[in-house]
Amino acid sequence: MMEFEYFKPKNLFKAIDLAENFKINKKFLAGGTDLLVRMKDNLIKEENIIDLKDIDELKGIWEKDDEIEIGPLTTFSEIIESEILNKFSPLLVLASKKVGSPQIRNKGTIGGNICNASPAGDSIPPLFCEEAKLILISKNGKRIVDIENFFIGPGKTIINDNEILYRIVIKKWRDNDIGFFNKLGQRNALSISIASNCVKIRKENGKVLDIKIALGSVSPTVVRAKRIEEEIKNLKNFDEDKLFIISSLVSKEIDPITDVRGTREYRIEVSKYLLFESLVNLLNR
């Protein structure tokens, strides 16, 4: 295990102060399920670890009019058990159930998953479908960023050295919203996604009013498949042959890598079928 200085600020102001002090020479510790593994492998250059776990302002799930605010230190177990999220954002709950294992979900946090910026982070595709807004805080105040603009590459985000993720804001689901999260891993538990997709649809009288498709693990960041969304909106019926042709267009929306979990070619091929499965599941149910 690497050596480091450990800080555990009791409130947000102290954390902001520390961030301001250390700038790039610090890492925030949220759940630590990814960070600790990297610290053990001496992959962390930063010398100061700021543990955010004592900051109550960063934990919780709040209902605010037609929105829900989530504190970044909320664990996946808390998300899965949240009455508010089960009612108003079931897609995030569904995806959270696919994260790691019970032990990992008890410790891993949604804010950590976002700020780690892995293209395979399972909580990120549903947040793309919800068009989540992220509130970042620093001594200069708050700023709001669309989740789609937050990531710039694997492990890279637009967050500044002195900023902390403060809130994740999503809109509540309406009655006619439906969604599906489809993940291919090497096994059910404890697997890193090879490819995943998340689809949210607003349907009325058999017509698709709105659709959002987010793809995980198949590009440097999670991406929306906007061309496919448009094709689906224009459909008169949901004939499976047609849905398959449209799903195949996914190869034009992604840019996967080859790694130990799968080759680029495999990821492209499997993405078509995964998306087809999700679309059939939602449109023809």
Binding site: Y6, K8, V37, I104, N106
Partner: protein, 154 residues
Amino acid sequence: MKKILINFKLNGENIVDEVEVNKTLLEYLRENLRLTGPKEGCSKGECGACTVLINGETFNSCLVLMPEIQNKEVVTIEGISRENPLILEYLIKEGSFQCGFCAPGIVVSLYSFFKKFKKPTILELKEAISGNLCRCTGYKKIVDAAKKYIDERF
């Protein structure tokens, strides 16, 4: 490495100790206290052999830094064994373990699970031990034992 004063409860006893901040809970339990029930398998949170309870929930102790357990309540397999929970009998009777390396973690996960679920389904049961890898038995005899325990107990 800098040390920090840690105050926590372990298997019902208060512990106050000066510990290096970069020590994991698993290292502290095994190396400092010689509590070798929790095992080091992967050290990455993937195998679950080091599972312990912190405030009643299951955690991989290899992914917990000592400063993180300040004022918390930790229970290891040693603490659970003292209570001699009935599930142990079922696991032994069914011959659920071969090499035994995963056993402490699986027992901790099952113990925590049966505290929470009064009449669990098999699917919930399998989910509860999904963070614990076993390379000998293919889980069947573990699930069989837990199934019998549920059927006869509830």
